[in-house]
């Protein structure tokens, strides 16, 4: 024991002297994974000389953390994986207003009218399917079709997953609570198979457990990048269907930040062509601006704009109502 104490004390002493962030630095809470976010943050640091301290974590957990910290938060920026989390922080009054010109030129599917956070990249909902067991003609036109008998026990979904819940919120906004609950119960009674997240659903299709899955667009390309024979394909529903919802990863500046100017510079950097090119080229997400070269692995950006339903992202913040509905359907 005594032998262990000396090295421990040394370790402790060294580590307690964690350098305090200087006033010029930015602190970013990132719900986006390190492997994806780090290159772009490094580029920002090189360009501006501002250093960014990043706290990586789960989008929702960091959103809860920011609420607990309140105005004592050391964070300047929050970068979350979905509109729901951004909306929750906005509603809690934790986000600062952004300059209006930031929103100029963004397609309507990406705009937030409250003006205190902005979409940094787009993530489309798609239906993934097994090309072996599903005829391309037999693909469903609408997410609503999936309650039909021919899909019984063949569809995967993830009721605890944030992007799925945002999709249900959008369905409520577009079609009302009653019809949404009916759909949820219909899916449940039709034997929809519950998964934890998107990646496991895509794997589930390959493994023959399900034939269809409601997922985000960028998981399959990542599987394909590892294994070009991976036996799954994906498609949009018909034009304007709620199943094609475009959700976003968003970024906002904290009201409690004492370095808002630099923080806004970071927001602008995420919307710059270089960053947007990176999101679509390396992360398989959709850009929010048009001035980038498209990723050939993704459906065309203009087609995305055509097929996606017109939903105001601000309306996606009523997660509580969605969760109540999911509970009513005995899914949570």
């Amino acid at each position: 024991m005594a032998k262990l104490l000396t090295p421990t004390a040394t370790i402790l002493a060294t580590l307690l002297a964690v350098p305090l962030a200087s006033a010029n630095d930015l602190t970013l809470y990132s719900g986006r994974g390190e492997s994806m976010a780090e290159p772009i943050i490094a580029q920002f640091e090189r360009n501006t000389g501002i250093s960014v301290n990043v706290r990586y974590g789960d989008t929702a957990q960091l959103a809860v953390l920011l609420q607990e910290e309140g105005e004592r938060s050391p964070a300047d920026l929050y970068w979350g994986q979905d509109a729901g989390a951004m909306g929750a922080l906005s509603k809690a009054g934790l986000l600062a207003e952004l300059p209006g010109d930031i929103y100029e030129g963004l397609p309507t599917i990406y705009t937030s009218e409250t003006g205190n956070w902005v979409a940094a990249s787009g993530r489309a909902r798609v239906v993934a399917y097994s090309p072996e067991r599903v005829d391309e003609e037999a693909l469903p036109d609408s997410a609503f079709d999936l309650v039909e008998e021919q899909y019984e026990g063949r569809v995967g979904w993830a009721p605890t997953n944030g992007s799925f819940q945002s999709f249900v919120t959008a369905m409520r906004v577009e079609h009302g609570d009653e019809r949404t609950l009916e759909w949820l119960e219909g899916m449940r009674d039709n034997g929809a198979v519950t998964f934890r997240n998107n990646a496991t659903q895509v794997q589930g299709i390959a493994d023959g457990e399900i034939d269809f899955a409601l997922v985000n667009n960028y998981y399959l390309p990542r599987f394909l990048a590892n294994d070009s024979d991976f036996p799954v394909e994906q498609a949009f529903f018909s034009e304007g269907d709620i199943g094609n919802l475009v959700n976003v990863a968003g970024i906002g500046v904290l009201e409690s930040s004492d370095n808002k100017e630099a923080a806004i510079d970071f927001v602008r950097f995420l919307l710059s062509p270089a960053a947007q090119q990176y999101f679509t080229g390396n992360v398989y997400e959709y850009p929010v601006t048009r001035d980038v070269i498209q990723n050939p692995e993704l459906e065309d950006f203009d087609r995305l704009l055509d097929v996606s339903p017109e939903i105001d992202l601000d309306d996606l913040d009523d997660l509580e109502g969605t969760l109540n509905l999911l509970r009513d359907a005995e899914l949570l």
Binding site: L16, M36, E68, T160, T194
Partner: protein
């Protein structure tokens, strides 16, 4: 000063300890401090719970569905307890009592599964079966997909059985050979000796292990959700992660805590019996049992256990790596990340042991109502969902000690709180095997309490303390939610790196870091365990 009254003379029933007179301060104060710290999350929960609105509360918390989830959770816990016992008990017996070779290596192998993060184990099991599973791709054979109740039970058992194994091993090793000799001389066969002599002595460590495993199962979300089994942790998780809500999650955490408390009570009912050695003289080491033809059962059994708990995750990590080998630069970052993980996990492990020691001492040597209350409070940190505990510490430090917020100190203290119960089991059981008369003898020879502790008690507790340190260390190495919230900004541990990559579907990039958790944890465990043999 030296005549500290011991358990044999202290009144035992219905009497809170009279401060200072019976219990020496160096035992009482740290115990009270530990219990005091555990009150912080309770206070936080009460505060948040009070904000609730009654109508919403009944909709969210007191609803029939929660009962279903609860029953699912209990069934799961039962399954895991049974399965882990079948894994840990024979293993502990083989390693301590038989003449099997490479005991130390087998012991290390028996601890390694703890280092496998739950979701990696789940991914490994899920990825094994199915049309496009690893097995189908490598051999052409198809296994049904492992999932649901069976999958969750299996996954949890495969990485929690070491809790039981280490507890049992420490107790078995400390058991006095004379007891068995006497039983044999009275005409008992070896089966009767095991059932009537050894097993009763193992009861406290069985209970300690079961308790720790049950509480783990109650709180686990990662593996259970990946296996698509609906458990109670679902409800809490969606409350935080879906609703970004702290109020109703607090209520659900309280419900979970109440359930945990009932298990802790159950445990203390059983462990009340005194099981110290009774004979005089030196404990006799036991002659190892010759396996003989039994080895044809023992070897396949070991192969099965280690193949499933270590081989399988290793296979899946290797498979991810081969699918798309990440750049070399990934590997270059592993050592620094490991140092960050271990740099906090080791102090946390020592701190937890440092708290567990006086608490164990208090409960074993100075049993009283207050003592057992303190002991039970040690389980609070472990039984709470880690996210709840972390939020409580955020709340606490920002309001009372903002300079501590997001420092390593706070992370280490919180990790120690979350794992104190793990250290307590083995230390308490080691102490149960040490007779008070040894201390009395030391005292009567004029040694003070400190000298007595280091010369007489510590050598006998070494194994228990070491087991406790190992359990805590390995748990902290793979811990996530507390790290997310409390680590200094930029202090990215191995576990955080693995999680952020797997959740984005970047399995290949996650693999080197996940492998590092397992490999480095195992090396540390091996290092700790080789120390224990030398006196």
């Amino acid at each position: 000063m030296n005549q500290t009254p011991l358990a044999s003379t202290a009144p035992r029933r219905f009497r809170a300890f009279s401060m200072g007179r019976h219990v020496p301060l160096h035992i009482l104060l740290p115990s009270l401090l530990a219990a005091g710290i555990m009150l912080v999350p309770l206070f936080y929960l009460a505060l948040r719970a009070a904000e609730a609105d009654m109508a919403t509360l009944s909709h969210l918390v007191f609803r029939p569905r929660n009962l279903t989830l609860l029953i699912n959770t209990l069934t799961l816990a039962l399954g895991v307890v049974i399965l882990t016992t079948f894994m840990a008990l024979p293993l502990a017996w083989l390693v301590v009592r038989s003449d099997i070779r490479f005991k130390r290596a087998l012991t290390v192998l028996g601890v390694i599964p703890l280092a496998v993060p739950g979701y990696v184990m789940a991914y490994a099991l899920i990825g094994l079966g199915g049309n496009y599973g690893v097995l189908a791709q490598l051999t052409g054979w198809q296994l049904p997909r492992i999932e649901g109740y069976f999958g969750a039970t299996l996954a949890l058992s495969l990485y929690t059985f070491p809790y039981l194994f280490l507890n049992l091993r420490a107790t078995l090793a400390g058991l006095d050979g004379n007891l068995e000799e006497s039983a044999k001389s009275l005409g008992y066969g070896s089966r009767d000796v095991f059932l009537r002599v050894i097993l009763p002595h193992l009861a406290p460590s069985l209970m300690a292990g079961w308790l720790v495993i049950t509480l783990y199962v109650l709180g686990d979300f990662g593996a259970v959700a990946l296996m698509r089994y609906e458990a109670f942790s679902y409800a809490i998780y969606t409350q935080y992660s879906g609703a970004f809500d702290r109020i109703y999650a607090a209520w659900l955490s309280i419900m979970l805590l109440a359930l945990a408390a009932s298990f802790v009570m159950l445990d203390s009912l059983v462990v009340k019996r005194k099981l110290a050695r009774v004979g005089t003289g030196v404990a006799r080491p036991v002659k190892p049992v010759r396996l003989g033809r039994m080895r044809w059962v023992a070897y396949p059994y070991l192969l099965l256990i280690f193949g499933a708990s270590i081989g399988l995750p290793a296979l899946i990590l290797g498979y991810w790596l081969l699918l798309s080998p990440p750049e070399i630069s990934f590997f270059a970052r592993v050592p620094a990340t490991f140092l960050r993980s271990a740099g906090a996990a080791l102090p946390a492990a020592l701190l937890a042991a440092a708290f567990a020691l006086p608490i164990a001492y208090l409960t074993v040597r100075y049993p009283s109502r207050a003592a057992s209350l303190i002991e039970r409070s040690a389980y609070i940190g472990y039984a709470l969902p880690p996210l709840t505990l972390a939020l409580a510490m955020v709340f606490f430090s920002l309001r009372t000690a903002p300079f501590l917020y997001q420092t390593l100190t706070l992370l280490i203290v919180t990790w120690a709180m979350a794992s104190l119960a793990l250290a307590l089991g083995p230390i308490r059981n080691a102490l149960l095997q040490t007779r008070p008369s040894m201390e009395e003898a030391s005292h009567s020879l004029g040694h003070g309490p400190i000298a007595t502790f280091f010369r007489v008690i510590f050598p006998r507790l070494r194994r228990g303390i070491l087991a406790g340190v190992v359990l805590v260390f390995v748990l902290c190495m793979k811990e996530l939610p507390i790290t997310f919230l409390l680590a200094p900004t930029g202090y990215t541990t191995l576990a955080v790196t693995v999680f952020t990559r797997t959740s984005e579907g970047m399995l290949a990039e996650a693999a080197p870091f996940a492998a590092a958790i397992v490999v480095f944890s195992s090396l540390s465990v091996a290092m700790l365990l080789t120390k224990e043999g030398k006196r």
